[in-house]
């Protein structure tokens, strides 16, 4: 009965001109979106490779220079573009692509793509994730809204019942017939994207398992949507009402609730403004050691403590350049302050996430969105992770430079210059993004919520259509 209904529904859908046109439009849009994204990805990736190499070359070829001057001169940590960002660009557009690493300061990522766009960008981009998250659910509504109401309106349901049809089996057949073409469409999209990515030079950390996880995530999202639309179709008598209700659910799930979640999160757990943040950091910095100021109270305390530790009477007796040592201690103090303030931002982010997770119980869009971004490595978590890795590299770089300065020079030798070959000894910045299993662990709550939606909507569909 299920297979029979599946075959019949597939024939009906295929012969329905509206569905064919809608599929064609979605396929066309998807192809265009993938094409645009591929070009964008290739461009950004080429820029990344070129910029990383150039920046490193500049660093390596500084010539003879004072290490602390080099620390101020700084370098860049470039955020790699991950292959699956081709499917879901996530928040990449808003988080910046590179972080300037210098002495005494932890900088925000800069060169935010969104800031270069015109006002038209507010209307949204034609990206694969836009099609996957918004357009395909609309296509599903178009296919499924009258799936059951048309049987009632035509009167075929009565004939089916007289033939001994079992409600849930008929609906399952219809369900598969709706799910099947969408899954084929998605499968083709993902496979072609996978092949495309595998053949791109410098395609980074592409993995088929991540692509598969993304595919499964979207499949579950669509299954939930089909369930909701079929529940509506089974619960009302008229196709028109089913269409209006289904579209209302789409608006609520995909537009209203995410916006509400975002506003509520920002209202309950606001981030400090850039000015507030800078003022708080500056205030805390003043309370501790400034590596450049030997006359402050904190500097005097460090001096006394160091002399005592090494059992000497004067700084010149120390086996290293105390000025460089003090600067390193100053760096460590500043790093702690940045750590504290960035941790506060992270706590706010985590609290905001809590609100998103709560509202995800009423909108399957939210967990899907979070999982999709996370798997594509374009979410805030990955950005934080990159930002932390860049900060750790900055701290290591400062230590590397200050230690060399301290070891190789004497107190007051501000004119000391490191050899031209010294810079090459600094390890390169190598960022390893979280693995798929780590991502899954971090997003367990989204996975659970999606599964609850999946099972819950199926159960409700079963009971709604048990006796049609």
């Amino acid at each position: 009965m299920i297979l029979h209904t599946f075959k019949k529904e597939t024939k009906e859908l295929w012969r329905d001109g509206r569905v064919r046109i809608a599929f064609f439009i979605v396929l066309l849009l998807t192809t265009i979106a993938v094409f645009i994204s591929t070009n964008h990805y290739k461009n950004v990736n080429e820029q990344y490779v070129e910029a990383s190499a150039n920046e490193r070359e500049v660093w390596d070829n500084q010539g003879e220079k004072n290490p602390h001057s080099a620390a101020h001169y700084g370098t860049y940590a470039f955020k790699p573009k991950y292959p699956l960002s081709l499917i879901d660009q996530g928040v990449d557009k808003y988080t910046g692509t590179s972080i300037f690493l210098e002495a005494h300061n932890r900088n925000e990522a800069q060169f935010i793509a969104a800031s270069d766009q015109t006002g038209l960008a507010r209307f949204g981009d034609l990206t694969p994730d836009f099609i996957l998250l918004f357009m395909i659910p609309l296509l599903l509504i178009l296919i499924a809204y009258n799936s059951i109401t048309k049987e009632k309106e035509r009167g075929t349901l009565t004939l089916l019942n007289s033939q001994g049809a079992i409600g849930w089996k008929i609906v399952l057949g219809k369900w598969i017939a709706i799910f099947f073409p969408v899954s084929i469409l998605l499968f083709v999209l993902f496979i072609s994207t996978g092949l495309l990515l595998s053949n791109l030079p410098d395609f980074g950390v592409f993995s088929w398992s991540s692509l598969f996880a993304l595919f499964v995530t979207y499949m579950i999202y669509y299954a939930i949507f089909i369930n909701l639309v079929l529940i509506i179709s089974a619960s009302v008598k008229k196709s028109g009402i089913a269409l209006v209700l289904s579209l209302s659910v789409w608006i609520l799930i995909c537009l209203v609730l995410p916006k509400m979640a975002s506003n509520l999160a920002e209202y309950k757990y606001p981030y400090p403004t850039r000015q507030e943040f800078a003022a708080n950091v500056a205030k805390d910095k003043k309370l501790g050691l400034d590596g450049h100021n030997p006359w402050s109270k904190a500097a005097k305390e460090l001096e006394e403590q160091t002399l005592k530790e090494y059992g000497v009477d004067s700084l010149s007796q120390l086996p290293f350049n105390y000025d460089a040592y003090r600067m390193q201690k100053g760096e460590e103090h500043e790093a702690e302050i940045f750590f504290k303030h960035y941790n506060y931002l992270k706590t706010q982010y985590s609290n905001q996430n809590g609100i998103y997770q709560t509202l995800a119980t009423v909108s399957p869009y939210l967990p899907t969105r979070f999982l999709s971004m996370a798997i594509a490595k374009t979410d805030y978590n990955t950005h934080w992770d990159f930002s932390d890795a860049a900060e750790n590299y900055r701290i290591e770089t400062q230590k590397f430079l200050n230690d060399h300065f301290a070891k190789e020079s004497k107190l007051g030798e501000w004119g000391f210059k490191a050899d031209a070959g010294f810079w090459k000894q600094l390890p390169k910045f190598n960022y390893e993004p979280p693995s798929l299993s780590e991502i899954m662990k971090t997003n367990t709550s989204s996975i659970i919520i999606m599964l609850v939606w999946f099972i819950g909507s199926f159960t409700l569909l079963f009971f709604t259509t048990k006796s049609l």
Binding site: M1, E12, G155, N161, S162, G164
Partner: protein, 238 residues
């Protein structure tokens, strides 16, 4: 084949069916006549298990329709007043699907022979049913019954809206099924068609079976007079 004993259906104070009892044996065609709201469709819906009786019992092939509705449906076929099919599918595809729902699987040739037996012209077999006339759709309905090998046929105003030729063809089909031993219960307004095809005619009013004749007992004129008399007598009574 069809056995109805004191079947009653009430909705609050309203009695849609009042202690109806009737029997339709193998190879018999029982026509239920009556005005709208007389209880004819309620009787058919009760036999189909679409609604539950307030009291009484009904059996299809000795199977209680209330206790075993799924099993009952294996033995019956139903053709409503307006048989609606899937418009984008052909007659063969519709027949294949509805037979499949009843767990009957046939090859294309077998499906064609059912349609042929039901009187549908061969050239229409593979055409979409969207442009079928009502008569052609009813023939597909008969083909569905034939494919199901149903021993009981329930018809709800099947000839209403059919042109005389189509109505006549439909009557002939019923006679063919009768010859195969199918027990048919047909609700209709069409006195003349009832006289032509039925073995027994019952007149219903206000949910009650008021009169019942064997078709051989009366001529068409006597049947018409008795029918009108029953209807008006009861109208005067009420």
């Amino acid at each position: 084949m069809i056995r109805i004993n004191n079947l009653t259906k009430t909705y609050g104070d309203f009695t849609a069916l009042d202690a109806l009892s009737l029997h339709v044996n193998e190879g018999e065609i029982y026509c239920l006549l009556g005005a709208n709201g007389a209880g004819k469709t309620t009787t058919i819906n009760l036999l189909l298990g679409f609604i539950k009786p307030t009291s009484g019992s009904a059996y299809i092939n000795d199977i209680n329709v209330v206790e075993q509705p799924k099993l009952t449906k294996q033995h019956l076929a139903y053709i409503p007043e307006n048989l609606m099919l899937y418009p984008s599918l052909t007659a063969i595809e519709n027949l294949d699907y509805f037979s499949g729902i009843a767990n009957k699987k046939f090859k294309k040739g077998e499906l064609e022979s059912f349609l042929e037996e039901a009187g549908l012209q061969t050239s229409a077999f593979n055409k979409s049913v969207a442009k079928y006339s009502k008569g052609m759709r009813q023939k597909v309905g008969i083909a569905i019954a034939l494919a199901k090998d149903a021993k009981v046929l329930l018809l709800d105003e099947p000839t209403s809206g059919l042109d005389p030729k189509a109505s006549n063809e439909f009557g002939q089909l019923l006679q063919k099924l009768r010859g195969k031993g199918v027990a048919t219960l047909m609700a209709t307004h069409d006195l003349f068609r009832a006289k032509e095809v039925a073995t027994t005619i019952g007149v219903m009013k206000d949910g009650q079976l008021k009169q019942q004749w064997s078709v051989d007992e009366l001529s068409l004129k006597e049947l018409e007079d008795s029918y009108l008399e029953t209807m008006s007598y009861n109208t005067l009574q009420s």
